[in-house]
C-alpha cells in the first residue's frame, strides 16, 4: 500500500506551499514535490499603470524583499527613460542605490541566518521544537540573538535613509535616486554609539562566519551531505568577473565549472532563459534554452554567486571566499547547507561595501538623475538576497505599462528546491512508518536553505501552520499531523 504525505503550510492571502512525499509499499520515498501556489497576478495588475509608478507599486508584492523589487523595477525603467542599462546613472544615483541594496542584503541575510537557520544548527534538525526557535537562541546564546537584532536594525536604518521610509520607499526613481545622504546620517552609520556603527557590523559579520566555520568543523556530515547535489549555477557578475550584487552580466556555470552562459547582456535574457509550466505547481520552472528543459535548470542565490564569480571585491570577504573555494578545490559547490556559509560571506561583503560607500562623498552631493532618449522596453536585473531577480516592462504611447514579466528568485530556484526536498525526504523518511516532527523539519530545513520567499506581503500573526497528511494509494487518510496551528 503506497502512502502520500502532505506537509502544507497555510497563509492568509497570497497562496501557500506544500510538500507531498509519496511512499511506496515498503515505506521508501518514491517521489517528493514542493508545490507552490503562488500569486501570479501581479504582472496583470500593473498593466495600464503609468510606468514611473512601478518602483513603488511593485513593493506591494512582498513585505520581505520590497527593496529588491523596488530597485529591479527602477533598473528596468532606467532603460526606458534612456538612462542606460544599469551603469548609465550619475555616480550619486548609482551609489545611493547600491547602499540601499547592500542594506537590504545585509538585513535579509542576517534575518535568515539567525532567525530561521541558526536554531536548526544550534539545537539540531530534530531538536526540541520548543527550544528550536529564535527565543531558544536568545535563552541559550544571548550574544547571537543580540547581534541578530542589532544587525537587522542597522540594515533597516540604511534602507530608511536611502529609500526615504521603511514602508513603500520612494528612493529609486527611473533614471536615478531622489535624495542624497545627509551628513547626520553618514555620521550615524560610520560613528554611531556602540554597537550601531559599521565597524561593529563588520566585526559581528566576521564573528558569525567564525561561528559557522566552528560548527561546520564539528558537524561535517550534516553541513556537507544534507541535501547535497550537483547543479548548474547562474548569477550576475561584474564584467571583470567580480561578485556584483547590483549590476553586471549574466553568467552560468555547470557542475564542473564550465561556462554555460557566457557573461551575456541581461537585456537579452529571453534569448537564454525560458520557463516551463508543470501541471502540479503554479510556480514555473526556469531553464537555460541552450541546454533544454530536462537539464537546463540552475540554482541562484548565495551559493550560486560563490560558484559563478571569480573573486569578491572587498578584502575581508575575499579572504573568506578563498577559504570557501579551497574547500571544494575551486570546483562548484553543490552542498545545500553551504548556502548558509555563502550567505554569511555575503553579509560580510555587504558590510564592507556599505562602509566603502558611506565614506564616498558622491552620496552627499552631485546630480541625482539622468535622462536620455526614451524607449519602449527595459529589463532590470539584480542579485536579490535569494538570487537573481528579473523585472521586464514594455510601455505604450501613453506611458502606460502594457507588458510586465517578473521572474523572482524563488522561481529560479524551483527545481533545486524540489531536488533538495527529495533528497531530504529520502534521507530522513525512508523506511519510516511514522512521521515525526523531526522528519518534517528535515524537509523544511532543505527548503529553508534556499530562503524562499513564498508569501510575505500580507501577514496574519506570523502563523504558518504545517499539516502533514498520509494517504494510502486509494486516497484514504492514514495519519495527519498539524504543526504551528
Amino acid at each position: 500500500m503506497s502512502k502520500k504525505i502532505t506537509i502544507e503550510p497555510v497563509t492568509r492571502v497570497e497562496g501557500h506551499g506544500k510538500v507531498t512525499i509519496h511512499l511506496d509499499d515498503n515505506n521508501q520515498v518514491a517521489q517528493s514535490r514542493l508545490h507552490i501556489v503562488e500569486f501570479r497576478g501581479f504582472e496583470r495588475f500593473v498593466q495600464g499603470r503609468p510606468y514611473w509608478e512601478a518602483p513603488v507599486l511593485v513593493q506591494r508584492l512582498c513585505g520581505i524583499c520590497p527593496v529588491s523589487h523596488h530597485l529591479a523595477a527602477a533598473k528596468a525603467l532606467d532603460v526606458i527613460v534612456g538612462a542606460g542599462t544599469g551603469d548609465g546613472l550619475t555616480p550619486t544615483g548609482e551609489k545611493m542605490r547600491r547602499l540601499m541594496h547592500y542594506g537590504q542584503m545585509f538585513q535579509s541575510h542576517v534575518l535568515h541566518f539567525f532567525h530561521l537557520a541558526s536554531p536548526d544548527l544550534l539545537f539540531g534538525v530534530d531538536g526540541d521544537p520548543a527550544l528550536r526557535n529564535v527565543i531558544g537562541v536568545a535563552i541559550k546564546h544571548k550574544e547571537l540573538a543580540v547581534q541578530a537584532v542589532m544587525m537587522r536594525k542597522f540594515g533597516q536604518e540604511i534602507i530608511k535613509a536611502t529609500a526615504g521610509k521603511k514602508v513603500h520607499g520612494t528612493g529609486a526613481i527611473p533614471g536615478g535616486i531622489n535624495k542624497h545622504l545627509t551628513q547626520e546620517e553618514k555620521d550615524h552609520f560610520l560613528n554611531g554609539p556602540d554597537p550601531m556603527n559599521i565597524d561593529k557590523m563588520i566585526d559581528w559579520s566576521l564573528g558569525a562566519l567564525e561561528f559557522f566555520k566552528g560548527y561546520h568543523a564539528q558537524n561535517k556530515d550534516l553541513i556537507d551531505n544534507f541535501a547535497s547535489f550537483p547543479s548548474s549555477h547562474v548569477s550576475l557578475v561584474r564584467k571583470d568577473g567580480a561578485m556584483d550584487l547590483y549590476h553586471g552580466v549574466l553568467r552560468g556555470v555547470d557542475s564542473n565549472g564550465k561556462k554555460i552562459l557566457n557573461d551575456v547582456d541581461y537585456q537579452d535574457y529571453l534569448q537564454y532563459i525560458d520557463e516551463e509550466v508543470k501541471s502540479w505547481s503554479y510556480m514555473k520552472f526556469p531553464y537555460l534554452r541552450s541546454i533544454g528543459k530536462k537539464d537546463g535548470w540552475y540554482r541562484v542565490g548565495p551559493l550560486a554567486r560563490m560558484n559563478t564569480c571569480d573573486f569578491i571585491p572587498s578584502p575581508l570577504a575575499q579572504k573568506e571566499f578563498e577559504i570557501f573555494k579551497a574547500y571544494t578545490n575551486g570546483k562548484p559547490n553543490g552542498m545545500s547547507m553551504h548556502q548558509h556559509w555563502a550567505r554569511l560571506i555575503e553579509i560580510l561583503h555587504s558590510a564592507e561595501m556599505m562602509k566603502e560607500l558611506l565614506n564616498d562623498p558622491d552620496l552627499m552631493s552631485g546630480e541625482l538623475t539622468v535622462k536620455g532618449t526614451k524607449g519602449r522596453e527595459g529589463v532590470g536585473l539584480l542579485e536579490a538576497p535569494r538570487g537573481t531577480l528579473f523585472h521586464h516592462y514594455r510601455i505604450n504611447d501613453d506611458d502606460q505599462i502594457e507588458m510586465a514579466n517578473l521572474i523572482v528568485s524563488t522561481t529560479n530556484n524551483n527545481t533545486p528546491m524540489n531536488t533538495a526536498v527529495n533528497l531530504a525526504a529520502k534521507q530522513f523518511m525512508n523506511g519510516q512508518s511514522e512521521i515525526t516532527e523531526g522528519m518534517m523539519n528535515a524537509v523544511e530545513v532543505a527548503i529553508r536553505a534556499y530562503d524562499p520567499c513564498l508569501s510575505c506581503a500580507t501577514h496574519a500573526l506570523g502563523k504558518m501552520p504545517l499539516e502533514a497528511i498520509i494517504l494510502d494509494s486509494n486516497g484514504k487518510e492514514l495519519d495527519r499531523k498539524l504543526k504551528n496551528g
Binding site: P9, R12, V13, G17, F39, G41, F42, F45, R49, L57, Q59, R60, G63, I64, P66, L111, H112, F114, H115, L116, D120, P129, A130, N133, V134, I135, G136, A138, I139, K142, A145, V146, A148, V149, M150, R152, K153, Q156, K166, V167, H168, N441, E444, I447, R448, D451, P452, C453, L454, C456, A457, T458, H459, A460, L461, G462, M464, L466, K483, N484
Partner: protein
C-alpha cells in the same frame, strides 16, 4: 514620571484592509500632534520582526496595531502574552508575543504590551482601492476608543 508610549502599526498598505494598522498610526499621530500630547511615539512597518524587540525595550507601554481576518466585532484590544516562536517553514515575520519574549530575554524589560486588532474584509492587490467601507468604520471606532482611553493611560 510620565509613561513612554509607543503605537506600532504593521501591514502592507498596498493590500486594501491590510493597511488598517498603518492607517491607524497615521491618523492617531495627526490627532496626538494636534492635542500636543508628549511621550507618545509612532512606528510602522510591513510586519513585525526581531529588531522590534530593541524598539519596544525603550517604552513603558506598547500598542501594536494590526488588521485581522478573525471573526471580531469591529476591533479588540488585548494584552499580549509572551510567546515562544516556532521556526515556521519560511516565515520571515514574528508575532507580538515573540517580540515581547525576545525583549524580555535580551533586554530584561517587559513593557505593558497590547494588540489592537481591527477587523478587515478585503486583502487584494487592487489599485485605486483603499480600505473597504466596513474596514474604515472599524478603524474609526478603534481610533475613537483609543483617543478616549488615552488620558487613562498617560
Amino acid at each position: 514620571m510620565d509613561k513612554k508610549i509607543l503605537f506600532f502599526g504593521y501591514g502592507n498598505p498596498g493590500r486594501q484592509d491590510d493597511a488598517l494598522g498603518i492607517r491607524f498610526i497615521e491618523r492617531m499621530q495627526t490627532w496626538i500632534e494636534e492635542k500636543d500630547y508628549k511621550n507618545i511615539s509612532f512606528d510602522s512597518n510591513y510586519q513585525l520582526n526581531i529588531e522590534d524587540a530593541d524598539t519596544i525595550s525603550g517604552y513603558d507601554v506598547v500598542y501594536f496595531v494590526d488588521a485581522s481576518m478573525e471573526q471580531l466585532e469591529g476591533f479588540t484590544v488585548t494584552e499580549v502574552e509572551h510567546s515562544n516562536a516556532q521556526v515556521e517553514f519560511t516565515m520571515h515575520a514574528i508575532s507580538p508575543g515573540v517580540v515581547l519574549s525576545l525583549c524580555k530575554q535580551i533586554y530584561y524589560k517587559v513593557p505593558q504590551t497590547y494588540l489592537i486588532h481591527i477587523k478587515g474584509f478585503e486583502w487584494e492587490l487592487e489599485f485605486n482601492k483603499g480600505l473597504t467601507d466596513k474596514g474604515e468604520k472599524n478603524l474609526q471606532d478603534a481610533l475613537k476608543f483609543m483617543q478616549e482611553k488615552l488620558p487613562e493611560i498617560l
